[in-house]
Point group: C3
Chain length 190, copies 3
């Protein structure tokens, strides 16, 4: 019975994420322009892009541990690639929220600018990329991914299994309930 629940959760998570993760196989460059909040899944979506621009007052967090669940969307692979192991551990193991400037210092974003400048700056870079030779851009992006050993599938498999297991924990139920009622969770390590 528990096994069936587990399989059900597992399959649901993989389906939910598939649409997000398909961004990773886009052959042309992808740029994220982050205004407002990018928490959890939104954070992961931005990480799937090649380059990120953020607003100075953007609120960024990977708050999974605060909810009692495991992170997904290959964040455990993409975040240390972007900001190094220590910054990834800092953010993932505390779930703390950072603003645009700290995101730039860590290497998560290329630039933090005023909210109304985020999209224009992202479009400016997109314009420079679009002015290059299309075949060369795709070919270089492909090589870059090969040399950096970018393959999200093993991480996605590992994460979705850990997610399905943790979602059945008492703490995950408490974490999600606490978030819904905007109160601090009381975790028991179970």
């Amino acid at each position: 019975m528990l096994g069936c629940v587990w399989l059900g959760i597992h399959a649901a998570i993989e389906m939910l994420y598939a649409a997000f993760v398909s961004l990773d196989s886009v052959e042309v460059p992808t740029i994220a322009a982050v205004n407002g909040a990018a928490i959890g899944g939104g954070f992961g979506l931005a990480l799937l892009c090649d380059v990120r621009f953020v607003a100075t007052d953007a609120k960024l967090a990977v708050n999974f541990a605060r909810l009692g669940i495991h992170s997904g969307l290959a964040i455990t692979d993409l975040l240390p690639r972007a900001v190094g192991y220590s910054n990834a551990a800092d953010l993932l193991l505390s779930g703390r929220r950072i603003l645009g400037d700290e995101a730039v210092r860590m290497g998560f974003a290329r630039e933090a600018v005023d909210a109304d400048q985020v999209l224009p700056r992202a479009l400016e870079l997109a314009g420079e990329m679009a002015a290059c030779a299309p075949l060369a851009v795709r070919s270089i992006k492909k090589t870059l991914r090969a040399t950096t050993g970018r393959d999200l599938s093993p991480t996605l498999a590992k994460e979705s299994m850990a997610q399905a297991l943790l979602m059945q924990s008492k703490d995950a139920q408490e974490g999600i309930k606490a978030m819904m009622s905007r109160r601090p969770p009381e975790f028991e390590g179970k």
Copy 2:
């Protein structure tokens, strides 16, 4: 016939790069002092060194995609190692030019200083390295390269093949012609 042209270009590229790439097997530390412009091959040469100092007004770019050709000199491996995947994608997929301070922020260079201070600062670090025990320096450099899995040959093979293929594209011919006559290229994706 096309096959023969391809083999010829391929072999020529590999020979041309061999001298540059030999820098990678130097057993003692190598330091680049970059004054003025380091575009394309010059950029790659600096990347092959262990540490880089740049002038504040140094002009740095990997402009291959603007010419319609694939980058070489193992830049697709060395650049993400130095500045992370996102900064590498940003620079390689746009071909845009950066100055010394941005190069430092990205992690490409250790320091950006006034042009007349670049060489003195590089020599200062070289002096500190030369004051260390020679056997220890070589042995540590060797271990560092092993732990970071530094082996440029697979990337060089991949790059030179992509270069030889792209060099026969219409856009590469247009990109090089446009650069020669200092006009913007008109790419067709062919």
Copy 3:
């Protein structure tokens, strides 16, 4: 006879390091608060932690090459992971000393603050981590280490062998003597 000495040094180094390295297998997050000097082994100990806070006036160095010996504690693996190959080469091949702000710019430390703020800031982050769901924190830390391929044993083996060999060199004896009598060493490359 030389073989026996070598085996003895080798075993002694491995035993000495084992206690330090055990820090790497702690399942909960580890945070270093560095006040004063962290030179050589102390530097390595801080590197074994997940996150580091340092005092602005903290003195940090990996001075092994200045002593004529090879670095240990998996520093040749952990340092490039934390600060990139170039910064690791810069520090390890020169043995030079850096202060807190440079350590932050390199990515070695999360923050450089006044000496009396180092521990409070570290405890603040520890508190945020302790407020998360314990099972999720451990599970995410485990995944993070798997995705980043963190396995210190091959590096530790390589380092302890290089250390045992170099410790028998003339320069290592000179380097250690010179440090003891606080005079510059005279190395011969032997």
